[in-house]
């Protein structure tokens, strides 16, 4: 599949961009769950699910068969 094509050598920030984004989303989800109510709670559930979603998405879509 095209998802795993050779990108050439990537710099360190590019490698850790996704993990840093997941860290930020998880932290934002925890803070939102703390200070928000109602719809904010649902949004925080989604944000806290992003790491698991990233794993599932990678296994499903970034698997080269």
């Amino acid at each position: 599949m095209k998802h795993t094509q050779d990108l050439g050598r990537r710099a360190l920030p590019a490698i850790f961009a996704w993990p840093l984004l997941l860290t930020g989303l998880s932290g934002a989800g925890l803070v939102l769950a703390l200070i928000g109510d109602g719809a904010w709670d649902a949004i925080s559930w989604l944000l806290l699910a992003t790491p698991v979603a990233a794993i599932a998405w990678s296994i499903v879509f970034r698997t080269r068969r």
């Binding site: 998802h3 795993t4 050779d6 990108l7 050439g8 050598r9 990537r10 490698i15 961009a17 996704w18 993990p19 840093l20 997941l22 860290t23 998880s26 932290g27 925890l30 790491p51 990233a54 794993i55 998405w57 990678s58 296994i59 970034r62 698997t63 080269r64 068969r65």
Partner: protein, 138 residues
Amino acid sequence: MRRLPFGAVRTDRLPRVKWLDLHNLLAIVTLAWAVVVGLTGVINTWADLVLKVGQADQLASMVAPYRGKPPATPSARLQAVVETAQRAAPQMALDLITIVVLAAGLYLWMGRRRMAADDRIAAFEPVSAAVPQGRPAE
């Protein structure tokens, strides 16, 4: 990793390569999560210290003029308090039930504070009991 996009799992190579990619994927996502959890733990651990610093610093300077004085006794009549509150917020119904509820809450809160003080004293008592009461007569 330098030549692969995030989360790439190469299943068309050796099984060892596939497991390496899965290992890396699970590890970096878990690490990101653990960093967030760790920062939460740092905040929870420091919260008590921050509170104590505030008590020793700002709160201490606020109550400094009252140091050594007897505890303040209530000097305002309840009716005057009610009238002041009704002047300040006439739309709020400050009725007898509200007062009773607030007083009950205050009573429970003071009971909790008092219990905490008793607990602190109880924590000191074994220490003071272990201190020898003077030298035995020789």
